[in-house]
Symmetry: C2
Subunit: 232 residues, 2 copies
Amino acid sequence: MKGSIYLIPVTLGGTEASAVIPDKVLEITRGLRFFIVEEIRSARRFLRLIDKQFPIDESWFRELNEHTKEEDISGYLEPVMQGNNIGLMSECGLPGIADPGARLISTAHRKRIKVIPLSGPSSILMALISSGLNGQQFTFNGYLPVKPEERVIRLRELEKRAREGYAQVFMETPYRNQKMFNDILKTCNRDMHLCIASDITLPTESIITKKLSEWQSDLPDLNKRLVVFVLQ
Amino acid sequence: MKGSIYLIPVTLGGTEASAVIPDKVLEITRGLRFFIVEEIRSARRFLRLIDKQFPIDESWFRELNEHTKEEDISGYLEPVMQGNNIGLMSECGLPGIADPGARLISTAHRKRIKVIPLSGPSSILMALISSGLNGQQFTFNGYLPVKPEERVIRLRELEKRAREGYAQVFMETPYRNQKMFNDILKTCNRDMHLCIASDITLPTESIITKKLSEWQSDLPDLNKRLVVFVLQ
């Protein structure tokens, strides 16, 4: 009989596991020995965090990231075909969102392997629900283009969709947050609302929604913080 | 000093709380005495579930749903302005998504009240990440129109957006799931992928992604099940 793929949540940065991950989910994770992860080093660190005795050296790890070749992914599922349960783990939060996890999961569906999602933190959804912007209809856009002219075009598109009623969620790498914030201010209309959700679940968490006209007179310091933007 | 608003997750149907809600989140919830909820009866049931001794009769409840008047919402925040922490709770999963919670939260932001999201299950996100469809860019559309001709137009729009690369997530009320499934089959092209995620986190959970051409020869029974659809 085939095994299953568990989608394993991890903490968002250095939060305590019991603050964001259910007990039973930690128990299931401790019972697994096969893992497909975004980065082996941090996956091991997480397993040690939730179980000091975790038998890391007896466990099987493969990396799934943007460098993973398409032909390797099918091989990653061999242990499952042989009856083992396997855990998919991301760098941050839930796997399969804002990461390359979907490539593995779609292969699993083609092979009729059972996929079991586990409950855990998603900075994207936690930002959205705390923003007070439209949680009934929204779009997650991932990362926007880095090139200035392409980014302006994208931001204008997002503003248009936001005015149609769909809250627009997007992200940026920590060292480019400040630039992104300035680009939003320069590009979008002053009456738009912007939620800046920083360091979700961490002691430095800050989630604030204001009009762009209000943000303008109160520039936040976003440098090196984990930020999710919601525009509407 | 003002209190804070905690966004409290609940189970998706009859799952055990420790399977989907973190320990610390249950602890925070047990400590609250002020609640704004979608339905008082089920909120009380949940509080009794996570704490048999919960002092329900000494707690303060207000209902926030589609019948709540705009002018009442500001009054709901009085206890917070007086220094109490308050919990916002939905019928199912995370509050503020696919429910009227955003109305309260946007008022809170205007009053500079701190909003603190807690980690818990979201059937929408769990369906998406398990679907193997695009978790890097997606749109949640809530409920589609009920009228046949409007629904067909919406489904065509969703198909167009899905082909542009954005996975399209939507829902239906349990007794209309079968009809929705038939409408998708009738309206969309056979080469589209459809994930049907039913009863997430329940013992009857089933999450399957296939092409519409494959679904056609294998009609599922979706009647009275909690279903999230993902199309791409």
